[in-house]
C-alpha cells in the first residue's frame, strides 16, 4: 500500500517568507509526528498528533512554527517568517495506534532551504 508522502520534496525560500509543508500519512494511522533533521544531526521531535486529542507541541522551537491536522488525515506544518536556521529536512511519520504500535513509518521528507 501507499506509504507516507510529503510535499514538496524540496523548497527554497527567501528569509522572512512563510512556508507550508504537507504530510499525507498512511491511511488508518491515527498518530502523526513531525521531526526536523538538520545537516549532520539526528532527528528533533517537533509535534505529535493522536486522533482528536490535543497535539503535543512541546518540540516546536518557536512560535513561528505551527501545525494542523484534520482528523486522521493530512497535516500541514507552517513556518512563518523563515530564518536561515530553519533550513533542514522536515520529516513526517505516522503510526497505526500511538500507544501500542512502536514502528513509525517515515515519509521521504521536505528539504527546506532558506536563503
Amino acid at each position: 500500500g501507499a506509504g507516507v508522502s510529503q510535499s514538496p520534496s524540496n523548497k527554497v525560500t527567501e528569509k522572512g517568507k512563510d512556508v507550508e509543508l504537507r504530510c499525507d500519512p498512511i491511511s488508518g494511522h491515527t498518530a502523526l509526528y513531525w521531526y526536523r533533521q538538520r545537516l549532520g544531526q539526528g532527528l528533533e521531535f517537533l509535534i505529535y498528533f493522536q486522533g482528536n486529542s490535543a497535539p503535543d507541541k512541546s518540540g516546536l522551537p518557536s512560535d513561528r512554527f505551527s501545525a494542523e491536522r484534520t482528523g486522521e488525515s493530512v497535516s500541514t506544518l507552517t513556518i512563518q517568517r523563515t530564518q536561515q536556521e530553519d533550513s533542514a529536512v522536515y520529516l513526517c511519520a505516522s503510526t497505526q495506534e500511538a500507544g501500542n504500535s512502536y514502528e513509525q513509518y517515515f515519509g521521504p521528507g521536505t528539504r527546506l532551504t532558506v536563503t
Binding site: 532527528l43 528533533e44 521531535f45 503535543d56 500511538a98 517515515f106 521521504p108
Partner: protein, 114 residues
C-alpha cells in the same frame, strides 16, 4: 527524558567485513530501542526494535542488535556487509510510559567499499 549517543559519526568498512555501530542511551525509566536506516535520498526505514524479551534482536537485511541494560547499550552488528548497506544509521529510544516521540542519535554514516 531519554537521550542517545552514537559514538561514531562515520564508519568505513570493506565489503564482506563485519561491522558494529555503537549506540548508548540514557534514561531514568525502562525503554524501547530502535535502529533505523536511511538510504541516500530515501526516508527512514525500521531495521529492528527491542521491546522486551530476548536481548538479541534480529532485523532486516541480516542486521542484529543486542540490548545490554547494564551497559545501557544497543549496538548494531552485521557479520558481512554489502555495498548496498552504505547508508545512514540512526539509533532511537523512547520511554515505555513517557510519551510517544522517539529521541534519535545523530546518526552513523556507514560506507562500504570494495
Amino acid at each position: 527524558a531519554q537521550s542517545v549517543t552514537q559514538l561514531d559519526s562515520q564508519v568505513p568498512v570493506f565489503e564482506e567485513a563485519p561491522v558494529e555501530l555503537r549506540c548508548n542511551y540514557s534514561s531514568s525509566v525502562s525503554v524501547y530501542l530502535f535502529w533505523y536506516v536511511q538510504y541516500p535520498n530515501q526516508g527512514l526505514q525500521l531495521l529492528l526494535k527491542y521491546l522486551s524479551g530476548s536481548t538479541l534482536v534480529k532485523g532486516i537485511n541480516g542486521f542484529e542488535a543486542e540490548f545490554n541494560k547494564s551497559q545501557t547499550s544497543f549496538h548494531l552488528r552485521k557479520p558481512s556487509v554489502h555495498i548496498s548497506d552504505t547508508a545512514e544509521y540512526f539509533c532511537a529510544v523512547r520511554g515505555r510510559n513517557s510519551g510517544y516521540a522517539l529521541n534519535f542519535g545523530k546518526g552513523t554514516s556507514l560506507l562500504v567499499t570494495p
